[in-house]
Amino acid sequence: MHNSSSIENPVILLKGVNKWYGDFQALKDINLEIKLKEKIVICGPSGSGKSTLIRCLNRLEAHQEGSIEVCGIELHEKMQDVDIVRQDIGMVFQSFNLFPHLTVIENCMAGPNWVRGIDKNEAKERALSMLKHVKIPEQADKYPEQLSGGQQQRVAIARSLCMQPKVMLFDEPTSALDPEMVSEVLDTMIDLANSGMTMICVTHEMGFARQVADRIIFMDGGEIVEQNTPEEFFNNPQNERTKTFLNQILS
C-alpha cells in the first residue's frame, strides 16, 4: 500500500473535516492536501483551531466528520493500528513533554528500542547521531530538567527524528521558550527543512515561515481562511481577516 503511493500522491489528505467540542465548532469543513517534502506553516489568532487541526493529524484529537488520510491510511475511531501510523509521524509539543525519569539519550532510544524493535546498541548510535544533528551530543547523559528550554526542545526534536518519521508535526514549538532560545530551535528546524523532511508547523514565527514554508495556511474561527506561498501571503493578502492578523503580528 505504501509503495504504490508515488511522490505525487499526498502524504496527508483531509476532506470536509469538522470537529466540535460540545457545542463549539473547532474545525469547519477543512480540506487540505499535503505532498511529500512539503513545508507547511499554519498560523492564525489563538483559538482559531490550528493546534486542534495539527493534533488531528496523528489522532491525538478525534474529528467527527470528514476523512483524514495519513500515508494512505485513514484515521478513524475504530482503526486497529493507530500506533503504527503514529510511529511514522513525529510530533514536537509546545511544552516539550520529554520523559523526566529518563536521560536525554534514553529519551531518544525509547522509541526505536521499544516499538521499532531495534537493538540497544544500534538505537544508541542512532540517538547519538540525532543529538549531534541538533547540536547537543554532550548532554546525552543528563536528565531533561538539567537542560535549558531550548535544549529540551531540541532533544524533543531529536527524539522524534530517531523514529525516522515520514512527517514531522510542530505544535507551537517555540512559544514556551525564553526569547534568546527561540533561534536555536528555529535553526534546528531550518536544518531539518533543508534535509527534505515533510513538515507541518503551527507557529507565530513569521521570519521562519518566510524562509522555510512552501505554503502558509491562515486559520481563523476553525476555518482555513487563506493559503498561499509566503511571497504572496505576506505581500498580497487577499482576505480582510488575514490583513488584520498580519498587521497585528508584524507591527
Binding site: N97, P100, W114, V115
Partner: protein, 339 residues
C-alpha cells in the same frame, strides 16, 4: 515547609512570652499537685513533711518544677537544631519510661520462663527460655511474615485496582469501585471475622493465617488502590500524548512512562500504609494466630501481669515502625535524587 530568609526572634527569648509561659506552667503544675510525689520528697528539707505542707508546699513544689521546666527549655533553645531535636527526643523518651515506671511493673517477669511453650510442643520449651524470647522468636516472626505477605499482595491488588478504576471499561470500573467502597467501608476487625467465618460457609475451609492475610491484603489493597490511582492521575497528560505520538501502546506507556514517574508520588503514602498495616496485623490476634499481640495478651493474662507484656509488645511494634520509617525515608531520598 519552605523557610523564609528572614529569621524571627525566638519566642522563648522574649521576656513577655517567657513570663506568660512560666505562669501557665506554674498553674498547670499547681493544679495537678505534685506534692505527694518524689518531687515532694526531694523538697522535704524546705517544706517539711510533704503531706502536711499545705498550700505553701504545693506552691513551692510547683515553683521548683516550673523553674526546672522553663530553664530546660531555655537551655535547649540555645543549642543547634540537630542537638535540640536529639535532646528533646531523649527527654520525651525518659518521660515515657517514667510513665511506664509509675505502673510499678515487675520487669523481670518478661524474662521468666513460661510453661505455655510446653503446651505447643516439647521442642519449643527447649529453645524458648523466656517470655520475651517467645514474643520475638514466634510473635515477631509471625507478625513480620503476615505483614510482608499482605503488603506484597495488597500492592499487586492496588496496581490492578488503580488501572481498573481509571479504565473506560464499565465492568472493570464497577468491580474496582465496589471493592474499594466495601473494603474501605467495613472495619478491618469485621472483615477478619467475615472472611474467617464466612468462607467456610461456602465450603472453603480456611486456616487462621491465610484468612488473616486475606483480610489485611484486601483491606489495605483497597486503600492503596486509591493512592495508586491518584499517583497515576497526577502524571501530566503531556506524557501520555508524547508517548502516543511516538507510537507506544497502552501497556508500554503505563509500564515504562507513567508508573515509573508515579512511584515517587506513591511511595510516601504507601509507606504510611505499610506502617499502619504492620500495626493492624495485631487485629488478627482474634483468630488465635500467635503473633505479637496475641502472645502479649496470653503470656500476661495468666499471672495478671498484663501491662508488662503489653508494654513489651508496644516496644516491639515501635521498633519495627521506626525501622520501616527509616527504610521509607531512604527510598524517598533515592527518588528525590533521581528526578
Amino acid at each position: 515547609m519552605f523557610v523564609d530568609t528572614v529569621i524571627e526572634d525566638k519566642a522563648l527569648h522574649k521576656p513577655v512570652f517567657l513570663l506568660c509561659l512560666s505562669l501557665t506552667v506554674l498553674a498547670i503544675f499547681f493544679a495537678f499537685n505534685f506534692t505527694n510525689t518524689i518531687f515532694g520528697e526531694f523538697l522535704s528539707p524546705v517544706i517539711g513533711n510533704p503531706k502536711e505542707s499545705g498550700f505553701f508546699g504545693r506552691l513551692a513544689v510547683s515553683f521548683v518544677l516550673t523553674i526546672l521546666f522553663v530553664g530546660n527549655l531555655l537551655l535547649i533553645s540555645f543549642a543547634r537544631l540537630k542537638i535540640q531535636i536529639l535532646i528533646v527526643w531523649i527527654e520525651l523518651f525518659f518521660l515515657f519510661l517514667a510513665f511506664a515506671y509509675s505502673f510499678d511493673l515487675e520487669i523481670s517477669y518478661i524474662f521468666k520462663n513460661d510453661f505455655i511453650c510446653s503446651t505447643e510442643s516439647a521442642r519449643e520449651k527447649l529453645c524458648i527460655p523466656s517470655k520475651i524470647g517467645l514474643m520475638i522468636s514466634k510473635g515477631l516472626f509471625t507478625t513480620i511474615y503476615i505483614s510482608a505477605v499482605s503488603i506484597a499482595i495488597a500492592t499487586a491488588i492496588a496496581i490492578v485496582g488503580a488501572i481498573a478504576k481509571l479504565s473506560n471499561n464499565g465492568f472493570a470500573y464497577a468491580i474496582a469501585s465496589f471493592y474499594t467502597s466495601l473494603f474501605r467501608g467495613l472495619p478491618l476487625l469485621l472483615q477478619i471475622y467475615l472472611i474467617y467465618m464466612g468462607l467456610p460457609q461456602l465450603g472453603f475451609m480456611i486456616d487462621a493465617i491465610p484468612s488473616g492475610i486475606a483480610a489485611l491484603s484486601l483491606c489495605y489493597g483497597a486503600y492503596m488502590t486509591e493512592i495508586f490511582r491518584a499517583g497515576i492521575q497526577s502524571i501530566p497528560k503531556g506524557q501520555w500524548e508524547a508517548s502516543r505520538a511516538l507510537g507506544f501502546k497502552f501497556g508500554l506507556i503505563l509500564r515504562k512512562i507513567i508508573l515509573p514517574q508515579s512511584i515517587p508520588i506513591i511511595v510516601p503514602p504507601t509507606g504510611n500504609q505499610f506502617i499502619a498495616m504492620l500495626k493492624d496485623s495485631s487485629l488478627v490476634s482474634v483468630l488465635g494466630i500467635w503473633e505479637i499481640m496475641f502472645l502479649a495478651k496470653k503470656l500476661g493474662a495468666k499471672d495478671y501481669n498484663h501491662l508488662e507484656m503489653l508494654l513489651t509488645a508496644a516496644m516491639i511494634y515501635w521498633t519495627l515502625t521506626i525501622i520501616l520509617e527509616m527504610i521509607q525515608a531512604r527510598i524517598e531520598r533515592k527518588y528525590q535524587q533521581k528526578t
